[in-house]
Amino acid sequence: MIRIIIVMTAFGLVAAGCGEGDGNDNAAPYASRYEALPSTATLLTGATILTGTGERLDDADILLKDGRVFAIGPGLSTAGAEVIDAAGKWITPGVIDVHTHLGVYPSPGTASHSDGNESTAPVTAEVWAEHSVWPHDPGFVTALAGGVTAMQILPGSANLIGGRSVTVKNVPGRNVMDMKFPGAPYGLKMACGENPKRNYGGRGVAPSTRMGNVAGYRSAWIEAADYRDKMAATEKGQGEAPIRSLKLDTLVGVLNGKILVHNHCYRGDEMSVMLDIAKEFDYKIAAFHHAVEAYKIADLLAEADTCAAVWADWWGFKMEAYDGIRENAALVDRAGACAIIHSDDELGIQRLNQETAKVMGAAARAGVDIPPERAIRWITSNPAKSLGIEAMTGTLAIGMMADVVMWDGNPFSVYTKAERVYIDGALAYERGNDAVNPVTDFTLGTAAGAGGSR
């Protein structure tokens, strides 16, 4: 337990790199125009705090000021802050979902809303999920009620390379630029296994097999490396510049380490092959998503410093998900690799804490002890790490963005609800307080709009 009050005096912001074709410059097209909601200094007192760094503080206070975690520890001064009695409450970093399709497959799920898969070619690195995001998806608000403060919105998995993802703050805006997480790098969605081969093989087009999938990835990387080399040569005054390619810009962003690979992949053997492809072309896989068999290759994931973003218990809905076990994340964590619980689901994203709890219980049953302060990392700091935003959010260290959830009890109990959710120090949600909570345009006049989403 931290006994000394740490007060932030200054903090340095590490702006993570952004992708090729982007710019962290607010004037650039499609750049983040996110602005934090208005906030006042807030002191939450007497809570059990899980910091996201693996620590647990009992009967501790946390001061949110100027949008940052300003101080944390016991007995902080209340001067100048709105004081919230958090005795009996638990405080954690904001929940981060590394895998959602909110906005690109919004509710209602009509055909006209199906904007998540550009399934017209197996490699569509040129598309950007953000250009499909509908900010009025009611799922953003219900996710907020579940404590979600940031998320990665991905293209679907129909394609080998499906396009760029976007990381957003969960503050519904008028457009996606209003929501984009400032300074977050782009991700690239890749997909293994059944989905691409079924999607294209079913039309008599490559790929129709897993070996066809691998040929597809490798061909794309060969093309990207060639484009990168030609661009570099041109900069040195050698040769003619190739025509700019949106698709290859993105792939080169990966090869340059500026765009992070998020790879939908279920089976252990396939993930192993994907790690070798990454070696062949010298890029890094930030995270495997779904990774139902991550527990079979936990050591390889640890070695590659690649996260496994998994469900608690989804299994059997297709062949590559047949070997799912509840202990998956715990076995990954035990091996020293980075475990993440993700949702890929508009209901699941509302309860990532519950999904985590199911794994904790299953792990305990198997003799693997995962205390709350360790488990919380699976839905806060570990997803932040995989998204390249861990210097800004995901933990309650001094100077971090004040993305914070106050729960009305232990977040790993089924009976617990998020009571207050702060994003950049601003109260973005308060359970039962309609005056605070957002209502999307779509749900005006419905039960959800009337607070039914709670």
Partner: protein, 432 residues
């Protein structure tokens, strides 16, 4: 007096030397029956049935004893919908016996014939406490491969997840898809779905009244096969309910009217907007099966989906059973405890939530005389939990189905144990 009766009963039992007897002792027992909750209770099970439940009961000599001291004991969980034992892998692999994709039969399609008690789904779900399930046919699907779907998808069955005599009840309900879902199988409009259903009921009534003429060829042909019309007889007689996949309030109103007109028993499955009509549904004596976390407008039929719907309905007197998360109700039927816990978080009384995943599903399907609670004479399904069964971190320690303690090993625990081993000197396939 109860104790006296019990003493006589035990005396009788002692004389039956061949009886297979099990005693579960010391637990806090939530009977979900008239005996309520009993601390430090003894449960005596004889030949697969509950024989006596209470305190101060002597354990007969020779009984197999399960020590539940400090634990919680509940009835076995009852999954109210899903395809347990009818499928292995949902998409593009393995058997899926839940749907009739051809055109031969609709109402007569009976999933009981396909139930596989050795399915991996059955084993994986039972070790987490699911002991009984309604297995329900799916409507099929409309696609460009020649598959079709049906407004009437056929007959549900009640099964147990034990090691023998798996089928409890054939023809437990007639499953129908209405609303937006049903419209897909009826030409694109929900009107078509209602028409298909009414036509089937009318033909079943006509067949009932003119069967002899029909056999003699003196009655018009029917759109439905004789097998379908035979299956519908139990529906029009009010013996079995229709289980209607339906979400929108206006469709629920139409269902109430139709049930009234044809004197049908009905169950709503889904019911996103049912809470808006709680009093009418209660008055019509229509039960509702819902997933309590289903709070988004997935379609225009569910614009008013919300949390807390189960609480509103139950408080209005509606019979409500809770199903697992809509995304995976079969493979993860085991998550009905999570559903129940979430219903409690949204205001439902804890005992009512436990009832909604045990006794209430049995009532809905008309099998509560033998299933669903810990009462003398009922099938001895029970679960021993180390803590609150609705909590996410709680897993069963023992599960009994028809009085038999099941193995707690599943394909998933085997996989887990293989990869828990730290011995990496041999490939996994050479490990246990």
């Amino acid at each position: 007096m109860n104790r006296l009766v019990t003493a006589f009963a035990l005396l009788a039992l002692a004389l039956t030397a061949t009886a297979d007897t099990t005693a579960v002792i010391g637990g806090k027992v939530h009977t979900v029956g008239p005996q309520g909750t009993i601390d430090n209770a003894t449960i005596i099970i004889v030949d697969g049935k509950f024989f006596a439940i209470g305190t101060g009961i002597d354990v007969p000599d020779g009984a197999t004893t399960i020590d539940a001291s400090g634990k919680i004991v509940t009835p076995g969980l009852f999954s109210p919908v899903g395809r347990l034992g009818l499928i292995e892998v949902s998409s593009s692999a393995g058997p899926d016996d839940s749907a009739q994709r051809g055109t031969q039969f609709t109402a007569g399609f009976d999933v009981a014939d396909a139930y596989n008690r050795r399915s991996t789904l059955v084993v994986i779900n039972r070790i987490e406490g699911v002991t009984r399930a309604a297995i329900t046919p799916a409507p099929g699907r409309v696609d460009n491969l020649g598959n079709v779907g049906h407004v009437l998808s056929g007959l549900a069955a009640i099964v147990n997840l034990g090691d023998s005599d798996a089928l409890d009840l054939r023809g437990a309900a007639m499953v129908v898809s209405l609303g937006e879902n049903g419209s897909r199988y009826a030409g694109g409009s929900r009107t078509g779905a209602w028409l298909v259903l009414r036509n089937a009921l009318d033909e079943a009534l006509d067949y009932r009244d003119h069967e002899v003429d029909f056999e003699r060829g003196m009655r018009r042909d029917y759109r439905h096969s004789v097998a379908d019309l035979e299956a519908l007889q139990e529906v029009i007689s009010g013996n079995i309910p229709i289980l209607a996949d339906i979400e929108r309030a206006s469709d629920i109103e139409a269902l109430i009217d139709l049930s009234d007109a044809y004197r049908l028993k009905a169950i709503i499955n889904g019911g996103s907007e049912a809470w808006m009509l709680a009093d009418r549904i209660a008055a019509a004596n229509i039960a509702v099966i819902l997933a309590p976390t289903h709070n988004l407008p997935f379609s225009f039929d569910a614009l008013n989906a919300r949390l807390g719907a189960a609480t509103i309905l139950i408080e209005a007197g509606v019979t409500v059973a809770l199903s697992a998360d809509v995304s995976n109700p079969s493979h993860n039927a085991r998550n009905i405890t999570q559903s129940a816990g979430n219903a409690v978080a949204d205001g439902l009384d804890w005992d009512a939530a436990l009832r909604a995943i045990t006794l209430t599903p049995a009532e809905i399907y008309g099998v509560a005389d033998t299933l669903g609670s810990i009462e003398a004479g009922k099938a001895a399904d029970l679960v021993v939990w180390p803590a609150d069964p609705l909590e996410l971190t709680t897993y069963p320690e023992a599960v009994l189905i028809n009085g038999e303690q099941i193995s707690m090993v599943s394909r998933q625990t085997l996989l887990r144990d293989r990869y828990l081993q730290s011995d990496s000197s041999r490939p996994p396939a050479y490990r246990d």
